[in-house]
């Protein structure tokens, strides 16, 4: 008897749809933004987009609330109160630009290195890096050094590719995925799509992770290792494979340096280097001719075993033999490692057996002919359908580089890199291993009023590529020194500390972009804040000037002297470039743009526009014409279209050439951006089926990659199981060569630069008393929050407004706490008070929390009594940017090879706290009078409703 109302079911979503790219995180999915009356009505995934194929994550779907956040900066500001007070005066853009120019101009004219320009979670490093080169400072890097340079460097030195976002498991074909230390990853949606696929297909998914949430919760098997011990776990798997002779020898001989002969002459200057012929090619022993041959020859049968006597009478042994010896050592046997890892030996054996079984008994054969680099035709592609993926759980430890190398070696032994069902490169990868780029920034590269000698970041092959200024580090972060020789992404986490200590030297301006360095992206928050506010005797700041670009009122904003307010991601142009961190897929190269879909309603400007303008004002060569006029008067879109890095190579690879018909290289196309917008703001170049696999050795792929500018030559990428550059550093530590480390650093280099990866105990664990600090403390990213940005979002913060400390029941029992009780968590750095939640799915020696939920009062448009700052906490208070005292020198708390920040090495103790519910430490609230007041009620969408009736 109900009478049903008539519904208006055909209400159009909005009056306009714009297709652009999401930036609620670094995954860069394609989105369709529906607008109604100029307001954002709905954001959905773009089904045509290669990254997300239409789906959208929890953050992306809350984009409306990020875009309309009350924490958005309103106008350029000049600091008027003391640093940290949050007292600002609004200024005009003209004044802001003039101020910045007046600070930077004299530096460039005198000593460019006194500018440190560091960028955080941005995606325009190809522009910012170029700008820094043009400025001439050696002090540039982005967030990679505290993020995942261990992943990048270990992969690039080993096989010219990497996990991180630069490769994927073959989601469609893999039968076994072994995933290490991943909570969210940069490939947020692709991994979710992939996990959905393989689970539905019934492939096995094993997650190695101390914590069983998120992806690990749906894994078929959860391996709850103790943090920092993955190297032992993988070492034991390798041990088992060697023992069982479950190794793809053909693959090793074809694609790796396994047969290359290593000189065995302890004490000699070339001990441990490859024996080479007169052309410098590595030598192998050819079984057919029973002679030495160049490892680059094709028609040979290189021996994998057998000690050989070289022409000079010395001995040389193939890499394979050295590896086998190392990993067959009893110290890598499952029984020996089980206890340390916290995983029973039989499980390790079983997993090894499963890997072998899937790789060798369940191989995939694709009837897809292809041609290898030597021109030989193969009528099939043979796949070993075991794939792996790893991220910060491996990366953010001081043994991360070598552990990551071990994982790659495991994949290579199984023959599973870039084969059907294995791990797949995404173009422009593979690069040569390591890539041909060397770091610039040594004194010879740095000159007043001139661009830097070359790009900042690269891959040293030996001490000659390190960056010193006499005895001292050439860079403010001491990247590419004995402390972090292969610091391929710099050490952003050390910049503020070093600048305040004037070690290696003082700077005049610290210029930062999109990095919340006064809070969640720094280790040791309290000291970082005092470094930012440290003063000289005359009352001036030790770091004299700080320029900062943020879009929101973050914890970093109050510490800057000049604020350059950025737009939100829906208000600006952006370029997601193949020169930078592309969005490619395994069988397609792709890049993308963002374009403004709503007009800013504040006096803000896109940072890229500002940087280009600043470049022109400073008359930087790359940004000024010969006559002194700005080179890109049209701002960033002008730059995106017209900038050429090399002839025909620009920020975007799609629709190049006058008529837009070219990909990769080609003349500037004035219509390029329109073509992108028409196509949904992205471009995809699919590989041909014969190019899709074995890209490291696939002639069709390699030739194409050269043609489109991805690779210098079509020579194959040869997997470096044994890494010669590591041995070169090691030899230097033994006193060989022209550049040798000072005594202080020798043992460290000698120990850790092992050319064959090995496991060692993470530094903090080794240095602090494990009796005093019996537990590991780590963080995970919540899937619905992006670092510190998420909490300003009225919807996302309802999901997580405060973070708990998750502990194993047994830990709870041992200190007699139950859910919701408060505890003190202490490290050698300090202590925080937090509220616990007991759980079962966590390694019993590990406690953890969600990353970056804790907030400082006064920021992010939140009230002072927000749970984020009263119940939530930041683990970073306990993490130190330096290793504990002891020893002759205090190294940074980083990987000794890459300088990657070792966030997850943290050791803690826990005790019950009395009294009630407030976190500690609680920093003083920062002032925020320049910001609008936040609403106390939201009814977003009410307007749309009224209108629709």
């Amino acid at each position: 008897m109900n009478f049903e109302p008539k519904l208006d079911l055909d209400n159009p979503v909005g009056d306009h749809v714009a297709t652009t790219t999401c930036y609620m995180c670094a995954c860069r999915c394609g989105i369709r933004v529906h607008l109604r009356d100029g307001k954002v009505r709905y954001i959905e995934g773009n089904p045509d987009h290669p990254v997300n194929k239409g789906v959208l994550c929890g953050k992306g779907s809350a984009g409306i609330m990020q875009h309309y956040s009350p924490a958005r900066l309103q106008a350029p500001m000049k600091r008027v109160g003391p640093r940290g007070s949050g007292e600002f005066e609004e200024i005009s853009w003209d004044e802001a630009m003039e101020l910045a120019t007046s600070w930077l101009e004299p530096i460039r004219a005198k000593d460019p290195k006194r500018l440190a320009f560091f960028t955080g979670r941005d995606q325009s490093q190809s522009l910012t890096g170029y700008w820094a080169i043009q400025f001439g400072t050696p002090n540039f890097a982005a967030h990679g050094g505290f993020c995942s340079v261990n992943m990048a460097a270990a992969g690039l030195y080993t096989f010219g590719g990497s996990f991180w976002e630069f490769g994927d498991p073959d989601w469609d074909l893999t039968k076994y995925l072994l995933m290490f230390g991943v909570a969210e990853d940069h490939a947020s949606n692709p991994i979710k799509i992939g996990i959905g696929k393989i689970k539905s297909r019934g492939a096995k998914f094993v997650s190695v992770n101390p914590i069983r949430t998120g992806y690990s919760a749906v894994a078929d098997e959860w391996v709850g290792v103790r943090p920092g011990t993955d190297g032992l776990f993988v070492g034991a798997l390798i041990h088992e494979l060697f023992k069982a002779q479950k190794i793809d020898l053909d693959y090793l001989v074809r694609y790796t340096n396994a047969p290359w002969l290593v000189i065995q002459d302890p004490g000699a200057a070339d001990h441990g280097l490859f024996a080479r012929d007169e052309n410098g090619d590595p030598l192998v022993y050819d079984q057919t001719s029973a002679t030495f041959a160049s490892g680059m020859n094709v028609d040979i049968a290189p021996a994998l075993v057998g000690s050989r006597t070289l022409a000079d009478g010395r001995t040389a042994r193939p890499v394979f033999e050295l590896m086998a010896e190392r990993y067959l050592e009893p110290e890598y046997s499952p029984d020996a490692v089980a206890e340390d890892i916290g995983v029973p030996a039989e499980d390790i054996r079983r997993i090894a057996a499963e890997l072998a079984e899937v790789a060798f008994e369940q191989e995939i054969i694709l009837d897809q002919p292809w041609t290898d680099w030597a021109g030989r035709k193969h009528d099939k592609m043979i796949g070993r359908p075991v794939s792996m993926h790893a991220m910060r759980g491996i990366s953010a430890h001081s043994n991360g580089f070598q552990t990551c190398r071990l994982i790659h070696i495991l994949q290579i032994l199984l023959g599973s890199i870039d084969c059907p069902g294995g791990f797949r490169y995404k173009p422009p990868y593979p690069k040569p291993a390591p890539p041909g780029l060397r770091p610039h920034g040594a004194p010879k590269d740095v000159h007043a009023d001139e661009p830097l000698g070359g790009p900042h970041l690269g891959f040293p092959l030996g001490p000659e590529h390190l960056l010193f200024d006499g005895e001292n580090a050439a860079r403010i972060d001491k990247a590419f020194t004995w402390e972090a020789p292969m610091a391929a992404h710099g050490l952003m986490h050390m910049v503020i500390h070093n600048a305040a200590a004037r070690d290696p030297y003082g700077i005049d301006v610290l210029f930062m972009y999109m990095a919340n360095m006064a809070w969640n992206s720094t280790m040791n928050v309290a000291d970082t804040i005092s470094d930012l506010t440290a003063k000289n005797e005359d009352g001036t700041y030790t770091i004299p000037k700080i320029i900062y670009s943020d879009a929101f009122y973050s914890e970093m904003v109050p510490y800057a002297d000049l604020i350059l307010p950025d737009t939100t991601y829906l208000e600006r142009w952006d370029c997601i470039s193949l020169l930078d961190r592309p969005i490619s897929e395994a069988d397609a190269a792709a890049d993308a743009i963002r374009h403004p879909v709503v007009e800013p309603d504040r006096d803000v400007r896109p940072f890229q526009e500002v940087l280009i303008d600043l470049g022109a004002r400073l008359k930087l060569p790359g940004f000024t014409n010969d006559d002194g006029t700005p080179k890109y008067p049209g701002g960033y879109p002008d730059y995106i279209v017209n900038h050429e890095r090399a002839p025909g190579v620009g920020p975007l690879a799609g629709w190049r050439g006058k008529d837009g018909s070219k990909f990769g290289t080609g003349e500037v196309n004035p219509d390029q951006l329109d073509r992108y917008i028409e196509n949904g703001s992205f471009f995809v170049q699919h590989l041909k089926p014969e190019q899709a696999y074995f890209k490291h050795a696939n002639l069709d792929y390699l030739n194409w990659a050269v043609e489109v500018g991805f690779r210098p030559t079509a020579t194959p990428t040869i997997f470096q199981l044994y890494s010669e550059p590591m041995q070169v550093f090691r030899l230097a530590a033994e006193g060989h060569g022209e550049i040798t480390p000072p005594e202080l650093h020798r043992d460290r280099i000698a120990k850790y630069f092992d050319p064959l990866p090995f496991w060692y105990r993470p530094f903090e664990e080794d240095m602090v008393s494990t009796a005093k600090y019996p537990l590991h403390a780590i963080t995970q990213r919540p899937m619905h929050m992006y670092h510190s940005w998420g909490s300003q979002n009225a919807w996302l913060r309802q999901i997580t407004a405060a973070n708990r400390l998750y502990i194993h029941h047994s830990v709870g029992d041992s200190i007699n706490v139950k859910d919701d009780d408060w505890v003190w968590l202490s490290s050698n750095q300090g202590r925080v008070k937090c509220q616990v939640q007991l759980m079962d799915g966590v390694n019993p020696d590990t406690v953890w929390t969600w990353n970056a939920i804790g907030k400082r009062r006064g920021t992010w448009g939140l009230d002072d009594d927000a749970p984020e700052s009263n119940q939530g906490f930041l683990l970073n208070h306990l993490i130190s940017e330096l290793l504990p005292e002891g020893g002759d020198y205090r190294y940074s708390n980083s990987d000794p090879i890459t300088g990657q920040a070792a966030w997850f090495d943290l050791r803690v103790s826990i005790e019950k706290a009395d009294g009630s519910g407030e976190t500690s430490p609680k920093f003083e609230p920062v002032g925020n009078s320049s910001q609008p007041t936040s609403l106390t009620k939201l009814a977003y969408g009410a307007d749309f409703k009224r209108r629709s009736k």
Binding site: P5, L7, D8, L9, D10, N11, I43, P47, V55, L56, G58, S61, A62, N189, K192, I195, G196, K199, K204, T213, G214, A217, V218, D220, E221, K243, Q245, L249, D250, V253, R254, T288, N297, I300, A301, P302, G306, A324, R349, A353, E354, E357, M783, A794, W795, R797, I799, D840, G841, G861, D863, A866, P867, T936, K937, L938, A939, Y940, K945, S948
Partner: protein, 249 residues
Amino acid sequence: MTSLPAPTSKKLGLVIDLDICVGCQACATSCKEWNTGGYSAPLSDHDPYGADPSGAWLNRVHSYEIGEGEDSRTLHFPRACMHCEEPDCVTVCPTGASYKRQEDGIVLVNPDTCIGCKLCSWACPYGAREYDHDDGVMKKCSLCVDRIYNDTLAESERIPACVRACPTGARAFGDLGDADSDVSKSVASRDGYGLLEDFGYKPVNKYLPPRPRRNSNIEAGTQASETIPAADNSATEKLFAWADRVLSR
């Protein structure tokens, strides 16, 4: 009960695969985003930037732990209206604002006649109704009725926002009254179930249970280990002997 429509053959609903839900919250925020400007507009939020933020959400994602030790597991669990076949949330409503559609079984609240007495929310065993304090009316999952029949959307887009967004593909939409529909087939093949079936509301939405954990998917899991020789000094020699062969490139 007089106010439920006679049972109809069409039963639109959702099927949620607990085996692959990773708890990412995409369905929850996407639902909020669509509906705050759609049929249920607005879904108000209180104290959005303050001490006690809360708001109306039509879909919420929980996570639980089941058991301890070896056999324990973590479960992510999205929860919204089940569009029950015989729900009291409809019959208790004094105004008729809460109703179940005759043609497809969708349970809706008429925002123009709801008086906000909240009784329906008390009658729902699944906690699926959310009162909007600001708007003064009851809100609930509308099964995105303004998407699934919306002729201004492309055919492939006529699915609920949460299904459209879900990155893992854990959510599916369809006619559970039609045994041949994809959703019905997946329910049949995976032993899908409704929540609290004993309660008697006959929930239309179904959940697919997590598949059993497989600590080995290899039938002959010991195959390889059998060939693994005892850890003695000869392992290296055996390996070298095995590897010492002509391997052409």
